[in-house]
């Protein structure tokens, strides 16, 4: 029951309003209640570095008043040793480990060349999913509520899917950074909060800096206490001062009929046929070796990678159905007894069709799933070159990371 209370379906729209909204979203082009185009995001205000006590932080405020803060804190943690891992590093000489450390130093500076070099040894640096801990708090909802857990699982799934983030947390073979990402929705959830939380996390991770490592090899880590020298977790390319690799973002996209709408509001989700959350990242490995070329030719050269897709249970399935005239007592369904038997049968047949077949202008919660073609179109639209993802990433790049 708890899940139904905060459920986004509890927009108080009548069946008639839902039918109207659904029909206007079915038009070509769709008419959205707030006048946006199908690919437009709601305008947003973003800033980073707002929490002095965190390694990285961000705040995003959507125009509809939803607002979220994300803070990233890092702690050094000893890497658990497992039987079966190569646990020989205690016997190993320092020389080899030292060489490796020097390479890592270059990696930290993140010249495009260093990235290419680093990719050769990537197999060696391996992170674990447990190194990132993500919590989401949504006001008015218990933090073990399944909806909140689902959102948190989706966000961390995107962060962990390609293993790129945890690889960056590797310090040496004995220690790693443990990253705590805490996301708080400040406002009540006026719409499905997933895109907001994802974008906030993205910015917070971009702004995250970890202290510069001074120790070498596998010795106990020792850090530079000059915060100004701390490198970014996602280092920027020197030519443009922008991050070369970026953390993933998760977008919410829904379909009504064959129309595909991005960043749906709560009211639009209430009439969705299908809603998907799609996580994408802009490829770091491809951008690395040819970093300069990619920088010169602009953001359209970004190579996107698909990380995860989840179906969101569209709240439209919980909306109250409208009653067609044929089945409505006020319009003659109650007068069946007064009619002749043939007319009675016909009326009864009409009442049956009202239950099974859609009547125009009468809202009925969608049944069944989404066809394959629609699902493929949704994902294709997200991954389109020069599409919405590029737009969003461009917009986020413009945010000053302080």
């Amino acid at each position: 029951m708890a899940s139904t209370q905060h459920h986004p379906s509890h927009v108080l729209l009548s069946p008639a309003e839902l039918a109207y909204l659904h029909d206007s979203l079915l038009l070509v082009p769709p008419i959205r209640p707030d006048g946006r185009g199908p690919n437009d995001f709601r305008p947003l205000v973003a800033e980073t570095g707002i929490l002095p006590g965190a390694n990285g932080s961000a705040r995003i405020c959507f125009a509809d008043g939803t607002e979220a803060i994300a803070g990233v804190k890092a702690e050094v943690e000893r890497t658990a040793r497992r039987a079966g891992d190569d646990t020989v590093f205690l016997e190993e000489g320092g020389g080899e480990a030292g060489d490796e450390r020097e390479e890592d130093g270059e990696d930290g500076e993140a010249g495009p060349g260093a990235l290419g070099e680093a990719s050769g040894r990537k197999g060696e640096r391996k992170g674990e999913a447990a190194w990132v801990e993500l919590t989401v708090e949504i006001p008015g909802v218990r933090d073990d509520d399944s909806g909140t857990v689902f959102v948190a699982a989706m966000l961390s799934e995107a962060l962990l899917a390609d293993g790129e983030l945890v690889r960056r947390l590797w310090i040496n073979r004995r220690f790693h950074w443990k990253l705590y990402i805490d996301i708080i929705l400040i406002s009540p959830p006026l719409s499905y909060p997933l895109p907001l939380l994802s974008l906030t996390t993205h910015l917070a991770l971009l702004a995250t800096r970890l202290p510069r490592l001074k120790s070498e090899g596998d010795e106990d880590p020792f850090f530079d206490d000059d915060w100004a020298a701390a490198p970014y977790l996602f280092p920027r390319s020197p030519s443009r001062g922008r991050p070369a690799a970026r953390p993933p973002i998760t977008l919410l996209v829904m379909a009504v009929g064959n129309n595909i709408l991005f960043d749906p509001s709560k009211e639009e989700l209430a009439v969705a046929d299908v809603a998907l959350a799609v996580s994408v990242t802009s490829g770091a490995s491809q951008a690395g070796p040819g970093g300069n070329a990619a920088d010169a030719s602009g953001p359209s050269q970004r190579s996107l990678r698909l990380l995860s897709i989840r179906t969101i249970d569209p709240p439209s399935r919980l909306t109250p159905p409208g009653v067609a005239n044929a089945a409505n007592a006020a319009y003659g369904a109650a007068n069946l007894n007064n009619l002749g038997s043939s007319a009675q049968q016909q009326k009864a047949a009409e009442a049956r069709t009202a239950e099974t077949e859609a009547v125009e202008g009468v809202w009925r919660a969608p049944r069944g799933g989404a066809s394959r073609a629609v699902l493929a179109a949704l994902v294709g639209k997200v991954l389109e070159k020069g599409g919405v993802v590029d737009e969003v990433l461009d917009a986020l790049e413009a945010v000053d990371l302080g």
Binding site: M1, T4, Q5, R82, A83, G84, D85, E128, A129, D144, S146, G147, V149, F150, A152, A153, E157, A161, D162, G163, L276, V280, G283, S303, L304, R305, L306, L307, S308, I309, R310, T311, I312, D313, R317, L318, T319, P320, P321, R364, A365, R367, G368, G369, A370, S371, R372, L375, A376, V379, G380, L383, K385
Partner: protein
């Protein structure tokens, strides 16, 4: 004076035995023993819990490798029954799903309280089933669907399979969907179709980059060197619709073909599972007629 009332531990410290198995052949993926387009055999039976209004039990055969166990799931459906008086009005059947691993089901013990991965699974299951149920035939009522995972789909002996939990979750979800659909049918709750789960994965069979990744149905993580991407699909065969899609992995966005064929294979796996489901349901209907 020794304490004789209790059974005490040894007085000194002990060192747990550590077996040096360096001379044994290194643990490698054992390979797949069935064709890439076949799912493992499964056993499904409805009506196993008399006190529930509908129930089902699903067992997926173990792989050929000894020490790896198959998935064993039991599902019970309680309801439809009227909502408590305190609950707000609902024009639909209120679906509550509950997925729980038994504490002994996996290599690492699970607590009695549901952890976040189990809650996550129940949301996935709810999404998959909500599309199949005709919920507006039961206003003001609720149904509880409880799936217990008695035995997880895990390899017991090695420490090799680090990070496989995610892929095992997908296998568990597809089992949950199939068994819950059988239990729903057993409870006589109207559905548009029987929904079944299927998993397909993009795997690499040998370590190293030279081998070409291939797509297999119903992947067992211990049988493959590396799983690159996987998707779990809940599919309604007669309507040709997907009620739940869960994809995870790392696929270049330019390669939509790869993604689409992965989903297609997931649907194929789901069709195979659905055949077992329909067979089981017709069988139980036949039994009902004779008795």
């Amino acid at each position: 004076m020794t304490d004789r009332r209790r059974i005490n531990g040894p007085p000194g410290e002990t060192i747990p035995p550590f077996f040096d198995d360096a001379d044994r052949a290194p643990e490698t993926a054992k390979g797949r023993f069935r064709p890439s387009n076949a799912i493992r055999k499964m056993f499904l039976k409805t009506g196993v819990t008399p006190s529930a209004s509908g129930s089902a039990y699903l067992e997926i055969s173990t792989s050929a490798k000894p020490g790896a166990s198959g998935l064993k799931l039991s599902c019970s459906v309680h309801g439809p029954r009227s909502l408590p008086r305190s609950a707000p009005f609902s024009p639909h059947l209120v679906l509550t799903t509950h997925v729980k691993y038994a504490p002994f089901a996996t290599r690492q013990r699970r607590g009695y309280l549901r952890d976040s991965s189990e809650r996550d699974l129940s949301v996935h299951l709810e999404t998959a089933l909500r599309g199949a149920i005709i919920a507006d035939r039961w206003p003001k009522s609720g149904v509880d669907i409880i799936v217990s995972i008695l035995e997880g789909d895990q390899e017991r002996e090695t420490s090799r399979s680090q990070g496989d939990e995610v892929w095992e979750m997908m296998n568990a979800l597809s089992g949950c969907i199939t068994v819950a659909a059988a239990a729903l049918a057993d409870a006589g709750i109207d559905c548009v179709d029987t929904v079944a789960g299927g998993v397909a994965a993009l795997v690499q069979d040998t370590d190293g980059d030279e081998s070409q990744p291939s797509i297999v149905l119903d992947p067992v993580p211990s049988e493959h060197a590396k799983i690159l991407a996987a998707c779990c699909v809940a599919y309604l065969p007669t309507r040709d619709e997907v009620t739940n899609l869960w994809f995870r992995g790392d696929v270049p966005a330019s390669d939509m073909e790869l993604y689409n064929s992965l989903v297609e294979k997931g649907i194929q796996a789901s069709r195979n599972a659905n055949r077992v489901l329909v067979g089981c349901l017709t069988e139980s209907v036949g039994e009902g007629d004779t008795s």
